[in-house]
Symmetry: C2
């Protein structure tokens, strides 16, 4: 029997890559799509379910799909929110995953890989959210904990740092620097001394696969969290890596903009949680630069 | 200048009593009321604001009221929820307080007394929610933590156990037993060996007053949580206290119903947090029974 996955966040960068990897690995892949989401360009093999707002509908969908593992990657990311965006953050990052967990309990589906963020840990605190987005991610784990404690949910939360990889349409720093190197455009930047923690999307996807296998192999419900930590370089070092790897100058204007309020200067260390057993980083920044050049 | 309070949850049992106490203590009392709430029977002195859903509207209301302290008591309490009630729990217990904190930040209002529940601690765990209601209370504190860390919110969360007092219209155990003693009605009960932690509403209101004073006197933003623990008696002992205090038999049928799933047999001990400084219990069950007899 082929293993069955149910994904949220299929249209996102990591979700799309995870779907490809699961399909290649012989999984049957179901995905929920919000009714307003664009399904254009999605892989045909993915079985797409348009879901509305009710727990009942989601329960029926999960009962039919009967996934071995649910991968929850859908989320609304806002580095800084405006007051009127509180509602969207709560809806996407708390209401939806709570409905999902409730529907899983109703359908008898027990295994969930959830996505968190290293930004739950500003400075070195066990919990100190960088922004409201990170606070909703922490609060979500609190809600899921009820489903673990009372409803047998088996749960692993992967807390991601920054990610990169070919085909990334998010305006993230690695791709912006590669694009600037190619175009020769000047790039106004912060002073650039903050340390980044960067993981290639292939490695991130590997962490999700690994967590799924861990849930499938567990004898009793888990409730675990792991930081998925990659390569650590300062922004200035990253500019240097991009430039040298591609053999092109990057016209970075350091100090053209100030640091963000609550800029993370040094990412949290992995000792807040042990590493995800069996997972390690395979890809490096230097070896990945060429593939990031858009054709 | 009279101190100014802004209350949510005015129409609830504790909220109503707190409003009376604050008025008696010389406070100006503002309260937000959801547009569908019944304002019938509320004290005339309370300045009621009908609030809709937007952060902007709430920000304007808070700017005008300019409270020294916001008391957040509004919440949706469900001992057990049905799947379709997930939305109401998230909306009442996470979306609304997040909007409130966002509006406070926007209006420059910094002091908040928040209400939690001892049910965030099933067994002796630092966090193990008895039910989804308790999980939303924990998640709420994690959202508020962002406003503390990033927006200077000064916050005290009071985690309540069971409460009682004259005029309580909630179907809570102390009042039910008093009513049964007076009516002579038989009462089908669980086996009755679970320990309750009971605080008179006057003492609970005193804890809110105390927390407000603590926030006003603090030199920098606080982020504190306190368990408000009262008298501990088993259900069987409570039946005995009611019966002896009123000189009336209580026809309790122990074992007529089973314990609730995840019934709290022994409430969490106060060592999870130090006690609220300066607060102690003044009222006892025995001395309060007579006032609970409805006339």
């Amino acid at each position: 029997m082929k293993p069955v996955a149910f994904l949220t966040g299929l249209t996102g960068f990591i979700g799309g890559k995870l779907a490809e990897r699961l399909l290649a690995g012989g999984w049957t892949v179901h995905a929920s799509l919000r009714s307003q989401s664009d399904a254009h360009g999605l892989r045909d093999e993915v079985i797409v379910h348009r879901v509305g707002g009710s727990v009942g509908e989601l329960t029926d969908t999960l009962s039919q799909a009967a996934p071995d593992v649910v991968f929850h990657l859908a989320s609304l990311y806002l580095a800084d929110h405006r007051p009127e965006q509180v509602d969207e953050l709560i809806s996407s990052n708390l209401l939806f995953p709570c409905r999902l967990a409730e529907a899983m309990a109703g359908a008898g589906i027990t295994r969930l890989v959830n996505t968190g963020t290293a930004w739950q840990h500003y400075g070195t605190d066990a919990y100190n959210p960088v922004n409201l987005y990170a606070a909703t991610k922490q609060a979500c784990v609190d809600l899921l904990r009820y489903y673990h404690d009372a409803r047998d949910l088996s749960l692993i939360t992967l807390k991601l740092f920054d990610t990169y990889g070919a085909g990334d349409k998010r305006r993230k720093i690695v791709q912006l620097l590669v694009d600037a190197a190619v175009s020769g455009e000047r790039l106004g930047m912060s002073p650039g001394d903050q340390i980044l923690d960067l993981t290639h999307v292939d490695d991130v996807v590997g962490a999700f696969e690994n967590a799924a296998a861990r849930l499938v192999g567990a004898e009793r419900p888990l409730c675990e969290e792991y930081l998925i930590s990659g390569e650590r370089v300062s922004v200035r070092e990253l500019v240097d890596i991009v430039s040298k790897s591609l053999g092109l100058p990057v016209h970075a204007e350091f100090g053209a903009r100030a640091y963000r309020e609550r800029e993370v200067m040094v990412p949290v260390e992995g000792d807040l949680a042990t590493s995800l057993p069996g997972w390690s980083r395979g890809r490096s920044l230097r070896s990945s630069m060429a593939e990031l050049v858009r054709r």
